[in-house]
Amino acid sequence: MRRITVIGAGSTIAEACMRGWCSEQPTHFVLVGRSEENLRALAADLLVRGTEGTSVTVHTGGFEDCDAVSATVTGALAHGTPDIAMVAFGSLPDQAAAGLLPSALAEALTVNGVWPALCAQMLFNAQRDAGGGRLVLLGSVAGDRGRRSNYAYGAAKSLLATFAAGLQHASAGTGVSVSLVKPGPTDTPMTRDAGTRGRLASPDEVARTMLAGVAKGQPVIYAPARWRAIMAIIRALPRPLFDRLDI
C-alpha cells in the first residue's frame, strides 16, 4: 500500500492534496502536526472520502526549535519511509511587524524557511536510503522576486527554492524526485487572516495542479499553472517599472 507522510498536515493546501490522493488508490497517511484535535478530524474526513483500504496515523509533535523539529520528523519516519512526503507548514507573517521587530523577522524566516528545509533534508535522506520516493516542498510565488509587501515570507520561500534545487541535483540517480510547488495566492485561512482581497484560487484547484505535477516528478510546479507566466513577467520587469507597482 502506498504511504504518504505530510509534515504540517493542518495546512489547507496539504489537506486539499490529501483529499485528491485518498481517492486515487489505497493509501496509508501519516499526518504530522501540532493540534491532535484537528488532525483527528482530518483523519476521519480522509477515512470517509478515501477508497477502501485507506488508513491514517496521527502523529503530533512540536516545531519550536531545531531539536523539536528533528524529533518530530524522526517520529513520523518511525511509521515507515513514505512513497510521497510533503512539507507543508508555514505562516504568513505581518511584513510591517517583521520590518520593525527583529524577533518577528527571525520567526518569519525560520518557520517558513529553516524548519521546512530541515524537514526536507531528513525526509530526503530517508527516501534516498530506501531507494526512492517523491518529496514535495511547499514554496510560493512570493519567493520569485522580493516585494516590499512580503519579502520576509518571500525570502524564506526562496531559501526553500534554492534548497529544493540542491536536493534535485543531489537526487540524480537515487530514485528520489523532488518537487517544489509554488502556489499563487490561494483562499486559505492564512490569506484570509492577512486580509487578502481579490479572486483567489481555491485550494482544490491548486491541489489538482500539484497532484498532476508531483505524479510526473516535475521539479517546479506553479499552481494554478498560469502563475508560471505571470511570475516570468514579474521577474523580467525592469526595476523602474517594478518600483512603481504596488504589488
Partner: protein, 439 residues
C-alpha cells in the same frame, strides 16, 4: 481568526448590511465568539432575505469535513458547512443520494437543517430534517450537545426549521438514500391554466418528484398556464453524473435593474412555454439538471440588478383548494412588477417542528425585483395567505411584519420559551429575528 468588516446580503441581495464576519475554526473559536456577545450564524448565505444577517456573524462555510459514513445504514455524519454539492460529489458515485435536496446544491447542511428545506419530493419524503436522526449543537453557553428526537426532543423540534436561533449547528447526521442511478426520468406536461395544473399535480401524486413552472405573466383564461415537471430515479445508468463536471459560469457584472423588464420576461416565458410542442414529453436527464437547473449560472441573482430581489413563497392548505392560487396569480400578474419565475408544488403532511414551513397544501414561490410595487404586492399576498390559514417561508422572507409571522407560526411562543430556557434569547439573533419581534 480576526473578524473582517464586510458587506453582506442574502441570496436576494436585499437587504445588505455591514457586518463583522468571523470564520469558525473549531469549537473553541465559536465558543469564544459566543462569549463576547450576540451572534448570527451564516452558512452559504443562500437564504434569500435577512435570515443569515446580523452585526456579528459567524461564518460556517469553512467547517466542512466528513466525520463518518456507515455503508450499511447510509448514515453520513458531516460538519455543518458541508454542502449538498460535496455530498453529491462524494456519495453519488457510491450509489447514495441526499434524501431531500432544495433547488440549489450550494447550500450547507447546517443551513438546510436550520431552514428545514424541502425539495420536489416533499409530498412523499417530507422535509430535510425528516432524514436527520440527530445533530450536534453548541448552545449559547458553549456546551456542545447531541440532539435527537429521543434525547432532546424540544431542542430538536425548535432547531430544525429554527433559523439558527437556538444555537450553532456543528454537525449533522443524514440518512442518505440508495440509488442505482443518479439520472432522472423526467416527464413534462404542458397545462393550459391553473385548474388543469392543480388537477395534474393531484393526478400525478405517485411520481416521486413533482413541481410546476408557472408563467406568471399569463392572464385571463390562461392564468396559471404551466409546465409540470415530474421525475423518477432511473433504475440503471450513470452514477457519476450527479454533478456537472463543468464549473458554473459567472455573470461578470451587475446588469442594470431594467434587464428583466416586463416585456423581456413575457417573451422569455413564451419561449419557454413554446419550447415543448406536444402536451407531454419524456426524457432522461442528469440529476443536477433536474434538481438544480439554476446552478449552471453561479450568480444568477445579479440578474435583478443592484437593488436585488425578493422571493415570496407561501403555502395554502389543501382544504382551500386552487382558489387562493388563482387569486395570488391574479395579484402577481396584475401588479406592475416583472415576475419571471413561479414554482408551484403540492406539499405532503407537515412535520412537528415549531417553525418548519411545509404543511399539506400548495406552495407557490415567485421572484420579484425589489421595488415599492413588489413590497405592496407582498402585503396583499400576506393578507390572502393569512385569510385562508396559510403561511410564509422564513428562509425567503426579508419583509414580513411581526404580526404576520405570529399568525403564520402560532407555535412561535413555544419556540421563544425553548430559546429562553437554553439561553439563546438575545444571544443567537439575526436581522430577521429582531424584525419579527423575537428575543
Amino acid at each position: 481568526m480576526s473578524p473582517q468588516r464586510v458587506a453582506l446580503s442574502g441570496w436576494g441581495r436585499w437587504p445588505q448590511v455591514q457586518a463583522e464576519l468571523t470564520e469558525a475554526r473549531g469549537v473553541d473559536s465559536i465558543r469564544e465568539l459566543l462569549r463576547e456577545g450576540a451572534i448570527s450564524v451564516r452558512g452559504a448565505g443562500r437564504s434569500y432575505g435577512d435570515s443569515s444577517l446580523g452585526q456579528r456573524m459567524l461564518d460556517m462555510t469553512h467547517t466542512r469535513r466528513m466525520r463518518s459514513f456507515d455503508a450499511q445504514t447510509g448514515i453520513a455524519v458531516v460538519d455543518a458547512g458541508v454542502t449538498i454539492e460535496d455530498l453529491l460529489r462524494l456519495f453519488a458515485p457510491r450509489g447514495w443520494l441526499p434524501a431531500v435536496t432544495p433547488g440549489t446544491r450550494f447550500v450547507t447542511v447546517g443551513g438546510a437543517l436550520a431552514s428545514d428545506v424541502h425539495g420536489k419530493n416533499h409530498h412523499g419524503a417530507g422535509s430535510f430534517s425528516d432524514h436527520v436522526p440527530w445533530f450536534e449543537l453548541m448552545l449559547a453557553d458553549g456546551e456542545v450537545v447531541r440532539v435527537s428526537r429521543e434525547e432532546r426532543p424540544e431542542l430538536f423540534h425548535a432547531t430544525a426549521g429554527g433559523m439558527g436561533l437556538t444555537g450553532v449547528i456543528l454537525a449533522v447526521a443524514l440518512e442518505l438514500m440508495p440509488a442505482r442511478s443518479s439520472d432522472i426520468l423526467q416527464r413534462s406536461l404542458k397545462l393550459e391554466d391553473i385548474d388543469a395544473t392543480v388537477a395534474a399535480i393531484e393526478a400525478n401524486a405517485s411520481w416521486t418528484y413533482s413541481a410546476a413552472w408557472i408563467d406568471c405573466q399569463a392572464r385571463g383564461r390562461r392564468l396559471g398556464r404551466s409546465l409540470l415537471l415530474l421525475g423518477e430515479h432511473a433504475s440503471e445508468g450513470s452514477q457519476a453524473t450527479a454533478v456537472n463536471a463543468r464549473a458554473p459560469v459567472a455573470i461578470p457584472l451587475t446588469p442594470p435593474a431594467g434587464t428583466l423588464a416586463k416585456p423581456v420576461v413575457s417573451a422569455f416565458n413564451a419561449i419557454y412555454h413554446g419550447r415543448q410542442r406536444g402536451p407531454e414529453r419524456t426524457s432522461r436527464i442528469p440529476y443536477t439538471s433536474f434538481f438544480h437547473p439554476l446552478d449552471a449560472i453561479a450568480n444568477w441573482n445579479v440578474l435583478y440588478g443592484r437593488r436585488g430581489f425578493l422571493q415570496y413563497q407561501f403555502v395554502t392548505p389543501t382544504e382551500a383548494g386552487a382558489d387562493p392560487l388563482r387569486r395570488a396569480l391574479e395579484l402577481i400578474s396584475g401588479a406592475p412588477v416583472a415576475a419571471p419565475l413561479a414554482v408551484l408544488k403540492a406539499f405532503g403532511e407537515a412535520n412537528v417542528n415549531l417553525l418548519s414551513f411545509p404543511l399539506r397544501g400548495y406552495t407557490l414561490a415567485v421572484d420579484l425585483p425589489a421595488s415599492p410595487a413588489a413590497f405592496e404586492l407582498c402585503e396583499r399576498l400576506d393578507r390572502l395567505v393569512l385569510g385562508c390559514g396559510g403561511r410564509i417561508y422564513l428562509s425567503k422572507d426579508a419583509r414580513m411584519k411581526p404580526e404576520t409571522f405570529r399568525a403564520c407560526y402560532p407555535r412561535w411562543s413555544e419556540f421563544e420559551e425553548i430559546r429562553a430556557r437554553h439561553g439563546a434569547a438575545g444571544r443567537l439573533t439575526t436581522l430577521q429575528s429582531r424584525r419579527l419581534g423575537l428575543a
